[in-house]
C-alpha cells in the first residue's frame, strides 16, 4: 500500500515539464492550445517545401511550363524542363514535398486523436471549427499528394493500383498504400465530416474580432472552401454530377464577389483576395517570392518571355491578369502576383502575404466543364471573362472548343498557383504542345507522376 503510494507520488514528481517546449499534455489542456496547434499546421503549410514555393509558384509551375528561361542546358532548372525526376536535386526536392505534406498530416492526426476526449474544454463553435478544419486540411493535403505522386485519373491512369497511403492515425505505425479510388473516397469522407462540423460558421469574417481565431475566415479551410475542394476532387475523379452540385452551391450562395478593377489597383490586390475561398497566409512570402522572381542571380529566378505571355493572354491588352499581375525586373517580364511594389503600401500589407489555394473562378470553370450542354457551360465561362476585362464568347460553341477555352482560362488564371499542371495531368495534355519547351518532353504518365522518396520505399515493411 505504502509502496504503491510512494511509486504513484514519484511518478508525478518525475514528470518534469521543460521550459523551452510545451509538453503535449499541457498544450491540449485548453482550447487555445488546440487552436495554436492548428495554426501551427497552417504555418507549416506555408513552408517553401510545399505551398510556400514548391507546389505553387515553384516546381509545380515550372513543370507546367510557365517560365521559359528554364530550358537552356546552362540553367539550374534545366533538369526540371526535361522532367528528369531522377536528378538528385529534383529528387531531393520531391522527397521534401512528400516529407512536409505528411509532416502536416501527422500534426493534424495528433490534434484529431486528442480532440474528442477534450470536447468539454471548448467554448462556442470552436470544437466544430478546429475539428472541421483539421479534417478538411487532412483531405486537402492527401488530395494534393495524390495529384503529385498518384496515378492520373481514369481513363488515363489505373485507379485500382496502390498509390499513396491515406494516414489517419498518429504514431510510428506505417499506413498501407491505398488505390486512387480509395484515396478519393477517404478525402470525400473527411470532407463530408468537415462540412457537417463547419456548417455552424457560414459567414465570412474579414475584420478583426475579439477572438483572432474567428477572424479572416478565408485564411481558414472554411465551410465554402470545403465545398469548393469537394467540387475540385469530384471533377478530378470524373464525377461531374457531384462536382457540379458543389461548385454551384458555392456560386449560388453569392458570398464571394468578383473583384473590381478599382479594387485591384487601389491596394495592388494582385491575388484578387475577395474571390478566395481559401488562401494561406505566409508571413515571409515576400522573401520567398524575391528569391524566385527578383533574384540578382539570373539563373535562380524565373521569368516569362513576351512571346509566351502573349500566347497565354492571346495578345489581349484588357485582361486584368495581363495588366496587373506582371512586373519588370532586370528588364525581364516577371510574374508578380506575390510582388508588392506599391510604394504606398507598407510592408505589413496582407496582399503580399497570401497565396490562393481555392478561388471563385475555379468554381465557374468547374460549373462550365460539368454543365449539361455547351451553351450553359459557356455562360459560366463568360461570367469570369467579363469580370476579367474580356469580351464574352459566342454561345454557339462546340463542346471541344469550350473545353479548349476552359484550358486557356486555367493558363491565364492560375499563373504562379500550381493548378495548371494538375489540369494538364487530369486531361493528359501533351506538354510539348502547350508549353514553349524546345526540349523533348516525355509523353503520357511519365512527366505527371512524382517518384516516391527512397526512404518511403526502403524503410517500408
Amino acid at each position: 500500500m505504502l509502496i504503491l503510494f510512494i511509486f504513484s507520488g514519484c511518478n508525478k514528481w518525475l514528470n518534469v515539464i521543460p521550459q523551452t517546449q510545451v509538453p503535449q499534455s499541457v498544450m491540449f489542456s485548453n482550447e487555445q492550445g488546440f487552436k495554436d496547434a492548428l495554426i501551427g499546421v497552417y504555418t507549416q503549410m506555408g513552408g517553401a517545401s510545399i505551398y510556400g514555393t514548391n507546389t505553387t509558384f515553384g516546381l509545380a509551375d515550372q513543370l507546367a511550363g510557365n517560365y521559359d528561361n528554364i530550358y537552356t542546358s546552362s540553367g539550374s532548372l534545366y533538369q526540371v524542363s526535361l522532367y528528369n525526376f531522377t536528378d538528385a536535386t529534383i529528387k531531393a526536392n520531391i522527397a521534401n514535398i512528400w516529407d512536409s505534406m505528411y509532416n502536416c498530416i501527422s500534426s493534424l492526426n495528433n490534434i484529431l486523436a486528442q480532440i474528442d476526449s477534450k470536447k468539454a474544454i471548448f467554448s462556442g463553435n470552436n470544437y466544430n471549427l478546429v475539428k472541421g478544419e483539421a479534417l478538411g486540411l487532412r483531405a486537402l493535403l492527401h488530395f494534393d499528394v495524390l495529384r503529385m505522386f498518384g496515378q492520373q485519373p481514369a481513363p488515363y491512369g489505373d485507379t485500382t493500383q496502390k498509390t499513396i497511403p491515406y494516414v489517419t492515425s498518429f504514431g510510428i505505425t506505417q499506413t498501407p498504400f491505398s488505390s486512387f479510388g480509395t484515396v478519393i473516397n477517404d478525402c470525400i469522407t473527411d470532407l463530408n465530416a468537415a462540412k457537417q462540423l463547419l456548417q455552424v460558421q457560414q459567414t465570412i469574417n474579414t475584420s478583426n474580432a475579439t477572438d483572432p481565431f474567428l477572424t479572416f475566415t478565408q485564411n481558414h479551410l472554411n465551410y465554402w472552401a470545403v465545398q469548393g475542394l469537394m467540387a475540385r476532387i469530384y471533377l478530378y475523379n470524373g464525377d461531374k454530377t457531384n462536382a457540379s452540385i458543389n461548385a454551384l452551391a458555392v456560386i449560388n450562395a453569392g458570398i464571394f464577389p468578383f473583384i473590381q478593377k478599382s479594387q485591384i489597383t487601389l491596394y495592388t490586390d494582385r491575388t484578387f483576395s475577395v474571390e478566395q475561398l481559401f488562401s494561406l497566409y505566409i508571413y515571409n512570402l515576400g522573401t520567398l517570392q524575391t528569391s524566385s522572381f527578383e533574384n540578382s542571380v539570373s539563373t535562380n529566378f524565373t521569368y516569362q518571355s513576351t512571346a509566351y505571355t502573349n500566347s497565354v493572354y492571346e495578345s489581349s491588352s484588357t485582361d486584368y491578369r495581363f495588366l496587373f499581375c506582371y512586373g519588370i525586373y532586370n528588364s525581364l517580364r516577371v510574374p508578380a502576383k506575390f510582388w508588392q511594389d506599391n510604394p504606398a503600401i507598407a510592408d505589413g500589407n496582407t496582399f503580399s502575404r497570401i497565396i490562393p489555394i481555392i478561388r471563385l473562378s475555379e468554381m465557374y470553370y468547374i460549373a462550365a466543364e460539368t454543365a449539361a450542354d455547351p451553351v450553359t457551360g459557356v455562360g459560366y465561362l463568360n461570367t469570369v471573362r467579363i469580370n476579367r476585362g474580356l469580351t464574352a464568347l459566342a454561345t454557339t460553341i462546340t463542346a471541344n472548343t469550350l473545353q479548349n477555352e476552359i484550358m486557356k482560362e486555367y493558363r491565364k488564371e492560375f499563373v504562379q498557383e500550381g493548378q495548371l499542371y494538375f489540369y494538364y495531368k487530369r486531361n493528359n495534355i501533351n506538354l510539348n504542345a502547350v508549353t514553349n519547351n524546345p526540349n523533348t518532353v516525355p509523353v503520357g504518365a511519365l512527366p505527371y507522376i512524382f517518384p516516391l522518396p527512397d526512404n518511403e520505399v526502403q524503410f517500408r515493411h
Binding site: 514519484c10 511518478n11 518525475l14 510545451v22 507549416q44 516529407d99 494516414v167 481565431f213 515571409n284
Partner: protein, 1109 residues
C-alpha cells in the same frame, strides 16, 4: 618482555608522558580525558627502568590507577573506588570503535569476540561496535586480519574508546572498500574495484588528479586530448572499460537546445554526459558530482578514491552505473589538539614541442619554388612573381627565420597552497581547509585559479553522529589571448614578427600578382590589444549526514546535499583584432560574447545498515532510498560594435550581433532510487553478495518510469581452506570472485521522451502564433542496459612479496538509444528508440612485487605492472546509423570517417589499402575491394585497416623507500596501438599549392621525403607530376598514413623525503616532508605526429613541501 625505559620529566602533566612510554614500551594507553581530570603533575627521573617501575612512579598519589592487559595500559579508577563498585556485579554494555594505529582508518569488520563463547560483534563502517549484557569479568578480544589482537576486560572498559590496532603485515590492499553508499571489508566484497589512498595519489601527480588516478587501474582510460593538449582549462574525457555508446548522431527533433553562446554550467553532469556518454559516475562523500568538481578539487583533501567496475560493485547506482563509478572520500577531522597542516607546491610547466617537425624559412621558400609558384608562362606575371620571390629571399638572406612555435609559449610557474586546521575531541571535531591553486598553462595568459574554503564539523553524542561539510569555491579560468596554437604551427618562418623599428606587425605581408592577391596577418597581434577569453564560477556545497546507531548492529543514516554553482564566460575580440581588418562599418567591429549559467542540485536519502556476526556467519546489509533533482540553465548573448580596444564592457557595444537572439538552454532532471545490498560471509571462506535497485527518472519515457537493476556475486577465500594450511608461508591469499548483473545509463538529453510543441517567434498567422509539434516523443523510451559479467582473482604469495590481481569481463550493452529512420509518411523522419547493442570484452591484470623488503633497515623496493586488453564489438545498429554509414562512404575523405558495422569495433579505422607510391609516376597506388590495383581512390574500396583502441594499455613503475626517502618512477604505456597520422597527411600532402592559399607552414618531410623523379622510392606523393605540372590529387583516407602507435610515457618520477624524527622534534613539526615531482618529462613513441592542434602538450616539474604543527 623486559622493557628498559628512560624517562626524565619535571612537573609535567601526567598525560604528556604517555607517548614517551608508549614509544619505548610498545604498550598503549587506553583512557578518556575525563579520567585524567584531577591528576597531579609528575616528576620522574628513571634510567633503563621496567615498565612497572615507571608506571608505579607516575601513578603514585594519583586519583587513578592502571592495569596491564596484553599490550594495553588501561587507566582505571583508583582501588578504593573500585572496591565499592564490585558488590553487585551488574551486566554491562560496552561501546567503542576499532581503528588502524597509523592512518586512523576505521577497521570495518574487525571482530570483537567474547573469550570462550562463540559470540561477538563486528565493527561497522565507521569502526564502531557495541556489546550488551556482559558479565563484568568477561574478557573480550579485538582482532582483525593482518593486525595484532588486543584483549580487554569488560569491567575496565572505558566507554567510547577508540582501540588502535597495530599492523603486523605489510599493507597490501585496503582493509575495506567504499561504494559511496556503504562499506564492506575487502575480504567480503565480491565485486571488482580498486581503492587508493590520497597519499598514494599525491605521490604520482599533484596537479591533475585524473592523471594520477589512471596509474592505479588500467581500466581507467583518458585518451590524449588531440585538440587541446595540456590546456589546464579543458576537461579530460574519461572512460572505464571501453566505449559503451555510439558517438552522438542524434538529430531528431528533440536535442538539448544549446545553440550559440549559452554554455551549460560546469557542475551540470547531465550536460557533461551529452559530450561524453561514456563518462563514469562520480560520487563524492556519498553524493553525485560533476567531472569539473573533481578536477578542481584540492588534491590534499582526498582521503581515498575507489574505482568500481563490475555489476556487484555498482548495482546500487542502478541506472547511472553502467559506465563504472568513481568514489571519492574526503578527509574527516580527527580528534586531538588543534593541528595545523600546510602543504605547498610550486610548479614549473614547460611546453613539449618534440612532436613538431616544421620547415624553416629557407626550406619553406625552397618548397614554394620547387612547386613552381614563382614561375608563370605569362611574362608580366612572371616578373611580379619573381619580385615576390626575391623579396622573400632577401629577407631570409637578412637573417629572418622566425620560430613561431615559441612565440605564444611560456614556462609557466604556478603554485598551490593548502592550509588545514583540525582538532576536537570525541564529541566535537572540526576542520577548516583553505586552498589556493594556481595552475599555469604553457601558453601565455592561460591559467586556472581555484580558491576554496571548506568547513567540516562533526558532533557525536551517545548513539548519534551529525556531520556537516560546507564548501565554497571560486574559480577563474583564463584562456590565452594568443588564440589557437595551430596558428603558430601554420605561421610562415620567412616573415618577421616585428618591423625593423621593433613594433609588432599587424600585417605580415600583402602580395598581389596578376588579378590575385593575399594578405598574411600576424597571429600575435590580437594578444596585444586587450583580447579577453575567460570564465568564472562560484560553487557552494553543503552536505549533512546524520548517523544513528540503533544497537544490535543496526544503523540509520540520513543525508542531504545541496549544491549551487553559477558560471560566467566572457569573450571579447577588440575592434582592432585582425579578423576585423577590411570591415568598414564601425558597428560591426569588435565582438563580445557572454554567457551566464547556473546549476542547482538537491540530493537526499535515508538508509538502514545492519551488520552482525553470529557464529561463523557474518551479515552485512544496506537498504536505502535517495531522491535528487538537478536544475540547470544557461543564457548567452553576443554584442558587436566597440569603439576602442579598451571598451571591454558588454554594455559599451553598439548593438546585438545582427540576426542573433539570446541563446538559452534549460534542463531539469529528477530521480528517485531505492536500493538494497545484502552480503553474507561464512567462516571468512565463502561470500555472497546480492544487490537490487530501482530507479525512477524524469528522463525515461512515461511508460517506463521505473527501471529495475540487479547484481549478484560470489567469492571464495581458498587460502582459508585446510588443504592450504601447510602452505601458509607460500600462499598468503588466494581468492576467486565472480559476479553478474545488469545496470544502466541515462546519459541522454532530458525531455527526449516527451512529445512537445514549440512556439515560433519568427512566424505568425494573421496575428496568431503557431505551435509546432517537435516530432514523435517515444513514450516507451528506456534506459540503456549493460549486462556485466566479471570473474577475478586476487593472489598474494611468499609472505606478501608478490601480489597479483586479474579480472576478465564481458560487458554487453543493450537498448542503446539511437535514431530510427521511419517511412516519412508517418510524418517525421526519425525518432529515438532503444535499438543497438555493443559488447566490450577485456582482461585487466595488475602485478606487484617487493624486490626488497627489509624491515630492519627500513628498505622497501617494489615494482608493478598493470595492463588492460579491451575489444569492442558492435552487435546491432539501427537503420539510421546505416544511413550515416552510407553518407560517410561517399565523396572524398581527407580524414577517415566513422563507419559502424555489426561485428566490428566502434573504434575501427576505415581507409583504402595503399600499395605505396608508384616510383615511376609519384602517384599513390591503391588496392581495390576485389584485390585489383588502381590509381583512383574510391570510397567503396575502404576496409578496416586498424583500430583506434590499442591491444594493451597500462602502467608500470617502481617505488623505492630507504628510511625517509621515497623514489617513485611511473610510466604509462601503449602497445600495439594505431593512429591515423592526420596532421602529417594534412601538412605534407593535402596542401593547396598556390601562392595565395599556401599561407601555412608545413612538415619538414614535405621537402625531403616526397617523390621527386621517376625511380624514387618515397613515402609521400610528389609535389609535381612526371610532366612537371602541380600534383593536385587529394590524399583521401589511405592505409599509408596509418601508423603503429606504441609509446612509453614517463608519467611521473618522484622523490620525497620525510624529515628525521629528531629534526621534526626540534622544529616541533610532524609529518614534515619535501618532494620533487616530474610529470610527463619524456615520452618514447613509434610515431612522429603533432599530438595536439590547438594547445601544446606540457611537461611539469613541481616541488612540494608539507608539514603539520
Amino acid at each position: 618482555m623486559a622493557q628498559s625505559i628512560t624517562i626524565n620529566v619535571k612537573n609535567v602533566p601526567l598525560e604528556s608522558v604517555f607517548p614517551v612510554i608508549e614509544k619505548q614500551s610498545g604498550f598503549y594507553f587506553t583512557y578518556t580525558k575525563e579520567q585524567l581530570r584531577g591528576t597531579k603533575p609528575i616528576t620522574v627521573d628513571l634510567k633503563n627502568a621496567s615498565l612497572k617501575e615507571v608506571l608505579d612512579n607516575c601513578f603514585k598519589d594519583q586519583p587513578v590507577g592502571y592495569e596491564l592487559l596484553d599490550k594495553s595500559i588501561i587507566i582505571k579508577a583508583a582501588k578504593k573506588q573500585l572496591a565499592s563498585a564490585v558488590i553487585t556485579p551488574a551486566l554491562i554494555t560496552i561501546k567503542g570503535s576499532v581503528i588502524d594505529n597509523e592512518d586512523n582508518m576505521a577497521l570495518l569488520g574487525a571482530t570483537i569476540a567474547i573469550k570462550g563463547m562463540n559470540k561477538g560483534a563486528m565493527a561497522g563502517s565507521d569502526g564502531t561496535f557495541e556489546l550488551r549484557n556482559l558479565p563484568p569479568a568477561t574478557i573480550i578480544v579485538i582482532s582483525y586480519t593482518g593486525y595484532a589482537p588486543q584483549t580487554f576486560k569488560a569491567e575496565s572498559w572505558v566507554q567510547n574508546t577508540a582501540v588502535k590496532l597495530v599492523r603486523t603485515e605489510r599493507k597490501l590492499n585496503e582493509v575495506s572498500i567504499s561504494t559511496g553508499y556503504y562499506k564492506r571489508p575487502i575480504e567480503n566484497f565480491t565485486g571488482a574495484g580498486t581503492s587508493v589512498t590520497g597519499d598514494q595519489l599525491r605521490k604520482i601527480n599533484t596537479l591533475n588528479v585524473f592523471d594520477a588516478m589512471k596509474i592505479f587501474d588500467p581500466s581507467l582510460r583518458i585518451p590524449d586530448n588531440t585538440v587541446m593538449g595540456s590546456d589546464p582549462n579543458s576537461m579530460p574525457k574519461i572512460e572505464i572499460r571501453g566505449t559503451n555508446n555510439f558517438p552522438q548522431t542524434g538529430t531528431s527533433a528533440q536535442v538539448v537546445p544549446t545553440t550559440g553562446g549559452a554554455v551549460p554550467s560546469g557542475a551540470d553532469f547531465t550536460s557533461s554526459y551529452i559530450n561524453n556518454p561514456n563518462e563514469p559516475l562520480f560520487i563524492m562523500d556519498g553524493f553525485q558530482v560533476s567531472l569539473q568538481q573533481v578536477y578542481d578539487l584540492d588534491i590534499n583533501r582526498i582521503e581515498r578514491f575507489t574505482i568500481l567496475k563490475d555489476a556487484a560493485a555498482t548495482a546500487v547506482y542502478g541506472s547511472r552505473a553502467a559506465n563504472g563509478v568513481i568514489v571519492i572520500e574526503t578527509k574527516q577531522p580527527l580528534p586531538g589538539k588543534l593541528r595545523v597542516s600546510y602543504s605547498g607546491n610550486l610548479q614549473v610547466t614547460l611546453p613539449d614541442l618534440t612532436s613538431y617537425n616544421l620547415l624553416d624559412a629557407t626550406g619553406k621558400l625552397q618548397l614554394e619554388k620547387n612547386a613552381g609558384l614563382y614561375n608563370s608562362p605569362n611574362t608580366a606575371l612572371n616578373l611580379q612573381l619573381q619580385e615576390i620571390y626575391n623579396k622573400r629571399l632577401y629577407g631570409i638572406k637578412e637573417g629572418i627565420n622566425t620560430y613561431w612555435l615559441s612565440k605564444p609559449l611560456q614556462v609557466g610557474s604556478g603554485q598551490h597552497h593548502t592550509v588545514a586546521l583540525e582538532g576536537g575531541d570525541q564529541s566535537i571535531r572540526y576542520a577548516l581547509n583553505l586552498s589556493y591553486n594556481n595552475l599555469k598553462g604553457v601558453m601565455i595568459g592561460s591559467d586556472r585559479n581555484t580558491y576554496s574554503v571548506d568547513v567540516n564539523l562533526s558532533y557525536h553524542k551517545k548513539n548519534l553522529t551529525f556531520k556537516n561539510v560546507t564548501g565554497f569555491s571560486f574559480n577563474n579560468a583564463n584562456n590565452s589571448p594568443y588564440g589557437s596554437f595551430a596558428q603558430y604551427a601554420a605561421a610562415i618562418p620567412y616573415y618577421r614578427t616585428n618591423d625593423t623599428t621593433g613594433h609588432l606587425l599587424k600585417v605580415l605581408d600583402q602580395v598581389s600578382y596578376g588579378s590575385a592577391g593575399a594578405t598574411f596577418y600576424n597571429p600575435m597581434y590580437n594578444a596585444t590589444i586587450n583580447t579577453k577569453n575567460y570564465s568564472l564560477y562560484t560553487n557552494i556545497v553543503n552536505n549533512s549526514i546524520i548517523d544513528w546507531s540503533l544497537g544490535r548492529g543496526f544503523r540509520l543514516t540520513g543525508r542531504f546535499s545541496i549544491t549551487k554553482q553559477t558560471d560566467e564566460a566572457d569573450q571579447f575580440n577588440p575592434p582592432d583584432a585582425t579578423q576585423f581588418i577590411g570591415q568598414t562599418n564601425f558597428a560591426l567591429k569588435g565582438q563580445f560574447n557572454k554567457s551566464w549559467s547556473s546549476f542547482t542540485s538537491f540530493e537526499g536519502g535515508v538508509q538502514l545498515d545492519y551488520n552482525r556476526k553470529i557464529g561463523k556467519s557474518q551479515f552485512f546489509s544496506s537498504t536505502g532510498t535517495s531522491i535528487a533533482q538537478q536544475t540547470s540553465d544557461a543564457t548567452g548573448i553576443s554584442v558587436t560594435g566597440f569603439a576602442s580596444n579598451n571598451m571591454n564592457l558588454i554594455s559599451l557595444g553598439n548593438a546585438y550581433t545582427a540576426n542573433t537572439v539570446p541563446s538559452a538552454s534549460e534542463n531539469v532532471v529528477r530521480r528517485a532510487s531505492f536500493f538494497s545490498n545484502f552480503n553474507y560471509s561464512y567462516d571468512n571462506r565463502y561470500q555472497a553478495d546480492i544487490s537490487v535497485s530501482t530507479d525512477g527518472s524524469s528522463q525515461f519515457g512515461s511508460n517506463n518510469r521505473f527501471a529495475p537493476f540487479w547484481a549478484t556475486g560470489l567469492a571464495w577465500n581458498a587460502h582459508k581452506e585446510k588443504i592450504f594450511s601447510h602452505l601458509k608461508n607460500v600462499i598468503t591469499q588466494l581468492r576467486f570472485r565472480a559476479s553478474i548483473g545488469e545496470t544502466g545509463t541515462q546519459n541522454f538529453p532530458p525531455y527526449l521522451s516527451d512529445q512537445s510543441f514549440s512556439y515560433s517567434t519568427t512566424q505568425q498567422y494573421r496575428g496568431q502564433l503557431a505551435a509546432n509539434l517537435l516530432g514523435y516523443g517515444n513514450p516507451n523510451l528506456q534506459w540503456q542496459q549493460t549486462l556485466h559479467k566479471n570473474i577475478g582473482t586476487d593472489i598474494v604469495l611468499f609472505k606478501s612479496r608478490l601480489s597479483a590481481k586479474a579480472d576478465y569481463y564481458i560487458d554487453h550493452t543493450n537498448n542503446l538509444i539511437v535514431d530510427v529512420t521511419t517511412v516519412p509518411s508517418v510524418g517525421f523522419g526519425s525518432y529515438k528508440d532503444n535499438l543497438g547493442s555493443m559488447q566490450n570484452t577485456g582482461l585487466e591484470i595488475t602485478v606487484n612485487y617487493f624486490v626488497i623488503q627489509n624491515k630492519r633497515k627500513s628498505v622497501y623496493w617494489s615494482v608493478f605492472v598493470n595492463g588492460l586488453h579491451n575489444t569492442n564489438k558492435i552487435l546491432q545498429i539501427s537503420n539510421a546509423l546505416k544511413q550515416v554509414n552510407a553518407l560517410n562512404n561517399t565523396g572524398t575523405q581527407t580524414a577517415p570517417t566513422l563507419l559502424y558495422q555489426e561485428g566490428k569495433s566502434v573504434n575501427s579505422i576505415w581507409a583504402v589499402k595503399s600499395l605505396g607510391i608508384d616510383p615511376s609516376s609519384g602517384q599513390e597506388l591503391f588496392q581495390t575491394a576485389n584485390g585489383g590495383k588502381t590509381f583512383t581512390w574510391n570510397a567503396a574500396d575502404k576496409v578496416i585497416v586498424g583500430d583506434g583502441i590499442p591491444k594493451w594499455t597500462g602502467n608500470f613503475g617502481s617505488n623505492l623507500i630507504v628510511k625517509g626517502f621515497t623514489f617513485g618512477l611511473f610510466f604509462n604505456y601503449q602497445y600495439h596501438g594505431q593512429l591515423y597520422n592526420q596532421t602529417l597527411a594534412n601538412k605534407v600532402e593535402n596542401v593547396t599549392m598556390t601562392l595565395s592559399s599556401l599561407n601555412q607552414n608545413l612538415d619538414a618531410r614535405v621537402l625531403t621525403d616526397r617523390w621527386q623523379k621517376p625511380g624514387d622510392k618515397a613515402f609521400f606523393k610528389g609535389i609535381l607530376n612526371v610532366d612537371g605540372t602541380l600534383n593536385t590529387t587529394i590524399t583521401n583516407a589511405t592505409s599509408r598514413f596509418l601508423m603503429r602507435d606504441d609509446f612509453i610515457n614517463c608519467a611521473s618520477s618522484s622523490f620525497t623525503y620525510l624529515l628525521p624524527a629528531t629534526i621534526q622534534k626540534k622544529f616541533r613539526v610532524q609529518n614534515a616532508r619535501i618532494g620533487l615531482l616530474m610529470n610527463n618529462i619524456f615520452r618514447i613513441g613509434t610515431v612522429l605526429a603533432e599530438r595536439s592542434t590547438n594547445y601544446p602538450f606540457a611537461e611539469n616539474v613541481s616541488f612540494n613541501i608539507s608539514a603539520s604543527f
